[in-house]
Amino acid sequence: MKLITAVIKPYRLDEVKAALQSFGVHGLTVTEASGYGRQRGHTEVYRGAEYTVDLVPKIRIEVLVEDDDADELINVLVKAARTGKIGDGKVWSIPVDTAVRVRTGERGPDAL
């Protein structure tokens, strides 16, 4: 199993959610996050004083999938999240040892 984590622009959430649902993902976790990549946030001006705001609002999505689905799911996710402008975000995956459905105690792929 793999844990796919995506940090994306907040307004792309609906697109990404729809794309993941049509791909067949049954569940996901969404958290509000903030951070920056190469673009380093933005600048605000107050009476001529400039402030650099490093941390910009982001959405973090986490999905557990079977190994075979991981690559394709990442492609689907990236396609849905992409706007082509700076700050689109990042997606990565890491291996997962165990997953358990709390209600039934099922383990492994059955728990997804």
């Binding site: 976790t29 605000e44 001006v45 001529g48 400039e50 358990v100």
Partner: protein, 454 residues
């Protein structure tokens, strides 16, 4: 009522007094939105404290010192009206009861020290501030109001009545006076922790816009009410106030777009206030076209002036100097150029064939009030600092002055805070096994956030 009484004038001045009163809460919000969330209440409270202290002192001796019969050379009123004694219901100032005039002038005395508070945002002990307000109005505002506003047929205040300095509604007595006192005070108190290093951006621009809107609204009472009659001069003052403010708003925005690349809402609000300040002394002596010129000049020059604090390294937190001292001086001096001689006063400015005479008088008024206010304010602040201490401890300032001085906070972030605290205290106990990575991350994020906040 006695001969000469006008019900229309009285109604107008009483309503104007109420309009000027609302400027102080307006100012509180204007300033309150510009500070960081952790010290909003203190900013609001400093203005409200002025409402409390000055109103009481006004009745005790303020009115008498400002508008009592002259005690000599036009420098200060005598003590005939101590405790407002001897003022009957039928006594008139012009065509309105003395009490109506007194109520109107009281509102000026309240907002002037409140204006100063913006220079020392986030770092003054509240009790020391209260002491400063009480002493400052006594030794600075009441005398200066006498110099500028007390009219007694040539035997009144030495600047206005005896030497012909025009200050219709308080460019010198209110704005230069407060602006320069703000400079003195921020020099004595020193810079905020993190000045020029940490971002100290306004926590609520909507509050700033609300406050500046209330100021603009109340300012019609401030300026038009100063005619002390519901007449043509008052009407002209309303028009001049509106167009000068509008022009300054536009002037500030244009300057900003050219210099910094964006039209900011804080710039619009600040420009409006700069225009209001600049037209205050002039609104009873210039034409609407002159008012537009004064507004445009004030908007652009004040926008440039607010950066002075970075160049010279004094922490005038909310630009009291850049907006009130500079704006007040611009308005006062431009009377010397734009006074038409046909609105409320007969004095003519340079552009209307009056030569340089009036400009010289205006410059004297500006200089005298600026020097007097700076010296006395500095001495007063220094004396308070040496005795009771004027500035809060550094840890109090960093944590936010609201908690330490008022035992309150402006905003309740506890829903988030409580969740983070729980996650921090017992991540394993409160979270099921599968969710542990998430819980741990939350705890880490909380820990990071706490570090940043600290």
């Amino acid at each position: 009522m006695p001969d000469g009484f006008s019900a229309g004038d009285t109604a107008f001045v009483l309503i104007s007094a109420a309009l000027v009163m609302v400027m102080t809460p307006g100012l509180a919000f204007f300033y309150g939105g510009m500070v960081r969330a952790k010290s909003t209440l203190n900013m609001l409270a400093m203005s409200f404290l002025s409402l409390g202290i000055v109103s009481v002192l006004w009745v005790l001796y303020g009115y008498s010192l400002s508008f009592g019969p002259d005690a000599g050379a036009g420098l200060i009123g005598n003590l005939d009206f101590l405790g407002m004694r001897g003022i009957g219901l039928n006594d008139l100032t012009g065509s309105i009861p003395v009490t109506a005039f007194s109520a109107f002038q009281l509102m000026f005395a309240i907002i002037t020290p409140a204006l100063i508070s913006g220079a020392i945002a986030d770092r003054a002990k509240f009790a020391a501030w209260g002491l400063f307000v009480a002493l400052w109005v006594t030794i600075v505002y009441f005398p200066v109001a006498h110099w500028v506003f007390f009219v007694d047929g040539g035997n009144g205040g030495w600047l206005g009545d005896r030497n012909g300095v025009i200050d219709f509604a308080g460019g010198t007595a209110v704005h230069i006076n407060a602006g320069v006192a703000g400079l003195a005070l921020c020099l004595v108190l020193g810079k905020r922790v993190g000045f020029k290093k940490d971002p100290m951006r306004p926590h609520s621009l909507p509050l700033v816009m609300l406050g500046s809107g209330l100021l603009w609204f109340g300012w019609f009472g401030f300026n038009a009410g100063s005619a002390l009659a519901a007449n043509g001069v008052a009407a002209m003052a309303v028009v001049n106030t509106q167009v000068a403010t509008a022009a300054a708003l536009v002037g500030w925005l244009i300057f900003e777009k050219l210099k910094h690349g964006a039209f900011t809402t804080l710039g619009a609000a600040s420009g409006a206030v700069a225009g209001l300040v600049a037209i205050t002394p002039a609104c009873g002596s210039v034409s609407p076209l002159g008012a537009v010129a004064i507004g445009l000049i004030a908007g652009a020059v004040c926008a440039a002036a607010v950066s002075l604090k970075y160049r010279f390294g004094f922490d005038d937190s909310l630009d009291v100097v850049g907006v009130h001292a500079v704006g007040g001086a611009i308005g006062s001096l431009l009377i010397g150029l734009f006074a038409t001689g046909g609105v409320g006063q007969t004095a003519k400015g340079l552009f209307y064939g009056g030569g340089l005479d009036q400009l010289g008088k205006q410059a004297m008024g500006v200089a005298v009030v600026a020097v007097y206010s700076f010296v006395l304010s500095w001495l007063l602040a220094k004396a308070i600092d040496k005795t009771v201490g004027f500035r809060v401890a550094e840890d109090v300032e960093v944590a936010g002055i609201d908690q330490a001085e008022h035992a309150e906070s402006a905003y309740d972030f506890s829903a988030v805070g409580a969740g983070l605290a729980r996650a921090l205290l017992a991540p394993a106990a409160s979270a099921p096994a599968t969710a542990e990575p998430v819980a741990t991350r939350t705890a880490e994020k909380a820990a990071e956030k706490t570090e940043v906040d600290a």
